[in-house]
Amino acid sequence: MKYAAPTTVDDARSLLADNPGSRVFAGATDLVPQFRGGRPSPPLLVDLKHIDRLMSLTHEDGQWTVGAALPTSQLTGNAGFTAAFPGLAEAAGLIGSDQIQNRSSLGGNLANASPAADSVPALLVNGAQAVVATADGTRTVPARDIATGPGQTSLAEGEFIIEFTLADPPAGTGEAYLRMIPRSEMDIAIVGAAVRLTVDGAAVTDARVVLGAVAPTAVSVPDAEAALTGAALTDGGLDDATLAAIADAASTVCNPIDDKRGTIAYRRQVAGVLAKRAAAIAAERARNGA
């Protein structure tokens, strides 16, 4: 297995074109365990961290651009970004230890296509767009269209994610991400739940709810979004009926599996609990931000 560290998107593109079967990587936090687990290694590893564009974080004209290979510790360490996207920052900050945080990236977390990826539900509730390097240019697609199943993506051979774009959230928006793990750290989510709410005065005007680890890919919960949209918001937060409806909707939309990390029944039940709790936090944040 050879290693290459191109410094431009074009160079990376050429390396991938010239070496079929190659893999791009940023942190390799998933890749190395896969190799050690016996997964055949590719002929060439293309390190994306030397391409400035993939390592940058900018905020211009109401839009954040996050390099796909940027270590998540640099996202969580950016005060502007964490203020704008507290839930996404929380999610990014949950990917493994401090050691992992200095390697893991949003691009890797999404392109690895683990159903349990922490940052993905939070990316999706924020409507992130992925800018993808193609064989001869770039294309921009919703982040939600990248992962298609466990370990499967819509990226063609030789394609890789350059960056994500996220529009500034409207005033009165709050978001939150919660996950369930058996320990307090270092685990893969058994369930993850991201909620983003926008409020106008005393009611929710826009709601997005996405769950992780309960289906082959991160899934939206339209019924929860419907229950939230228009829901009243008081000093006490969302009312119990709305919270119950969110929990029900989240549990219903699950299509989880039994595995070493959790059972179907457990994931279903806890998906509802976390969706409800994340909604309550998002509502609180939205009120404070409104």
């Binding site: 365990p33 369930m180 058996p182 320990r183 270092m186 070493k260 990390r261 457990y266 806890v270 609990v273």
Partner: protein
């Protein structure tokens, strides 16, 4: 030898910086995997993907022809031992012969110039299997028509009429339990189960082996006992032990799991075949798939009590799933639950074989499973009788002279003192925090003595070197130095404690059973006492007085009318007074004192997710005498943390094919720092009369109480009695849903 009452010591009980500490904080300490020899080869193993299969053929030709490959071995390269040979099971576990007994069982190993080459070659070995029925649980193993797990297994310690799935049986009985249950005011009976759990040492097994052209082997190994490594490696190879020299590397944790061997004979054979040194290091995946977990268990316990809270009878059946072969020396640990004065008792423990990795000792082997059950039932009795959980235990606690489960009377023990220490602690006296609940649990371990040797040399500058053969897992060198400093009367930093190899110190058994500070410490004390006699005689010569006129006080020879003669001055005249100052002592120590512990835990349960948060934890344990209190606390805290992991999240997850699904630290979830609070320690000191300083040994007991302590707190928090370990969030939520 008896311990002094209320002794006042100069060094014993102090907390010096450990002598090997500097090397360990600057990265210089040499663990086995840190050693490299010129020209060394690296190994890779082929391991069985099936839990039980006959090996029809192994084709290693392609592997042997691959780049960098210097040697390949299979079971055919090792002699077949007689099944009654005590090392038979280890021999088969090291390398499968005709049958693989578990998924992960070693089938072949390759030595090559690089690890990558070795791995590629191992993968190119072609094996033909005939699958055999696999037993993956205790219930399957003990079923009437169960297929045999291991056709060579004969039940130990009882008469046996042929191969069986039963590994060992241990029955203890007194009084009449049936009559006692009939008379009891309250009888509580429950069944509990526990999962396979791993010792989880951070250092994977490793060794470097160099077999020379003369056929002699040099082995550097991380183990709990290098004389054990020598003996067992020799047995597996069919060699005389003296052909092998074992140098102990630093050991990166063991907890019982390194009281046996896996790699050394294979590396030796590969070195012999290749003529090159061979370094063999397991991956974490191999550690979990192929080295010693502790048994899974099923425990049924029935306890009777009077309405006043007197425990009148206990009946218990304790079944342990011990894996594919058994060197699980008895199940006496299961009997450690008899911490109470049950007048009537009937306990039966069995070990049953399963097509899973051969189990190995893990801290207080077999006691945690049993204590989980018994301490849970006693707590339930306390709740039903509305008694304080400590009061009911105090009321029934064994004291000196009360019988153990085996009937033998207890020596002086400190159970009552530990219960009182928790009862009187700030933790127990403070109110339970809002939203939390408190649990109590106890445990004990017998501890063992065994053989140890020590040599003490006084150097020409008046310093001393203390040489023992006990691998130092948790700071025992510092304890040896403290005891020597106390005896010799010199500064602890003027003593260099050394763990020496098989050719440079007398035979010493494994560091296990909390015996190092106890038994090896006793050898050190004995050697020092002989040395002091010699020093006094030399001083008499120098001072020109009768030997009887010399006393040894604070590191000096003292005689009436003479200036005191410090040790350094005597050392400087060693040559002219009879030659080098050195003494050696060896012994087979009896009198290891049992150590009891009582734990107290506050926790909160998230009733919507089943997640448990440990909020506060206090442990009181009888150390006899704490030679180095910091490392006594460390043993108490470490055992407790392992017990908390066992209680909450640790378990082997197998698929239907017997393949471990969580063979890594990501999904085999040992506690991380943020899972735990500070673990407060109360060292109780009830000296062991059989040790010159009263040492009991503290390593084992700490892991025994946490499971019940936590279960009892969860019950008090949720009104649900958890009977299955681990008490992971899914299991707790499921039980909460049944309320």
């Amino acid at each position: 030898m008896t311990a002094t009452e209320n002794p006042t010591y100069t060094w014993v009980g102090t907390r010096p910086i450990r002598h090997d500490g500097y090397d360990k904080v600057v990265g210089k300490a040499r663990f086995a995997a840190d050693l490299d020899l010129p020209g060394q080869l690296h190994t890779a193993y082929l391991r069985s993907p099936h839990p039980h299969a006959r090996i029809l053929s192994i084709d290693t030709d392609a592997a042997a022809a691959m780049p960098g490959v210097r040697a390949v071995v299979t079971g055919a390269d090792f002699p077949d031992l007689d099944p009654m040979n005590p090392n038979f099971d280890v021999s088969v576990n090291v390398m499968a012969r005709d049958v693989v007994l578990y998924n992960g069982h070693a089938i072949a190993a390759v030595a090559a110039s690089t690890r990558a080459e070795a791995r590629s070659a191992a993968a190119a070995i072609d094996v033909e299997y005939e699958l055999l029925p696999a037993i993956l649980s205790l219930d399957e193993s003990t079923a009437d028509d169960a297929p045999l797990v291991n056709e060579n297994n004969i039940t130990r310690f009882v008469e046996s009429d042929g191969p069986s799935n039963l590994a060992t049986v241990n029955v203890n009985e007194r009084g009449d339990v049936e009559a006692a249950f009939a008379d009891a005011d309250l009888v509580v009976e429950r069944e509990f189960e526990t999962a396979w759990v791993h010792q989880g040492y951070i250092e994977p097994h490793a060794c470097v082996v160099d077999v020379g052209p003369d056929g002699r082997a040099d082995i550097w190994a991380s183990s709990q006992g290098h004389f054990m490594v020598r003996a067992v490696t020799a047995a597996v190879l069919g060699w005389e032990p003296s052909r092998i020299k074992v140098t102990p590397a630093e050991i990166g944790g063991g907890f019982g799991g390194k009281t046996t061997i896996y790699l050394e004979p294979v590396a030796a054979r590969l070195s012999e075949k290749s003529g090159r040194p061979v370094k063999s290091v397991m991956s974490r995946d191999e550690v979990l798939r192929a080295t010693g977990p502790a048994p899974a268990a099923k425990v049924r316990v029935k306890i009777g009590a009077t309405s006043d809270g007197d425990l009148t009878a206990i009946e218990g059946w304790l079944g342990y799933a011990v894996g594919s072969a058994n060197d699980f020396a008895g199940l006496v640990g299961a009997m450690s639950v008899a911490s109470y004065k049950f007048p009537n008792l009937k306990l039966e423990a069995i070990g049953a074989l399963t097509n899973t990795p051969k189990t190995a000792a893990y801290r207080a082997p077999s006691a945690p499973h049993a204590a989980f059950a018994v301490e849970s039932v006693i707590d339930e009795i306390a709740q039903q009788l509305d008694l304080d959980p400590i009061e009911i235990r105090l009321r029934n606690a064994v004291v000196e002279g009360d019988p153990t489960a085996m009937g033998m009377p207890h020596p002086r023990i400190g159970f009552v003192e530990c219960l009182e220490a928790i009862r009187d602690s700030e933790h127990y006296r403070s109110p339970v925090p809002e939203g939390a609940a408190r649990g109590i649990g106890t445990g004990f371990w017998f501890n063992i003595g065994e053989q140890s040797s020590a040599t003490v040399n006084v150097n020409e500058d008046g310093t001393a070197t203390v040489i023992t053969g006990s691998p130092d897992i948790g700071g025992s060198r510092a304890s040896m130095a403290l005891m020597a400093a106390e005896e010799l009367g010199i500064d602890v930093y003027r003593i260099t404690p050394v763990v020496a190899g098989t050719e440079t110190v007398g035979f010493t058994d494994i560091t296990e059973g909390s015996r190092a500070t106890f038994a090896t410490g006793m050898a050190v004390v004995n050697a020092c006492r002989e040395l002091v006699e010699d020093l006094k005689a030399r001083a008499a010569t120098i001072l020109g007085v009768e030997a009887e006129a010399v006393d040894w006080v604070d590191g000096e020879a003292v005689a009436d009318g003479k200036d005191p003669l410090p040790l350094a001055a005597i050392a400087a005249k060693a040559k002219s007074t009879g030659g080098p100052l050195t003494e050696t002592a060896s012994l087979n120590a009896g009198g290891a004192g049992p150590s009891f512990a009582v734990h107290c835990c506050d926790l909160a349960v998230d009733e919507e997710t089943g997640h448990v948060e440990i909020l506060r934890y206090t442990t009181a344990q009888d150390a006899g005498t704490a030679i180095h209190p910091s490392y006594v606390e460390g043993q108490m805290q470490g055992g407790t943390a392992q017990g908390i992991g066992w209680a909450l999240n640790e378990e082997y997850v197998y698929d239907d094919e017997g393949a471990m699904q969580n063979a890594g630290f990501l999904d085999y979830r040992i506690p991380v720092a943020s899972d735990l609070p500070m673990i407060d320690t109360i060292i109780v000191e009830v000296p062991n009369p059989a040790h010159p300083y009263g040492v009991r040994g503290v390593g084992e007991t700490g892991i025994v109480p946490p499971m019940a302590t936590i279960a009892n707190a969860i019950t008090r928090a949720t009104s649900v009695r958890m009977t299955s370990l681990p008490m992971s969030p899914p299991k707790i939520l499921e039980r909460l849903g049944e309320r």
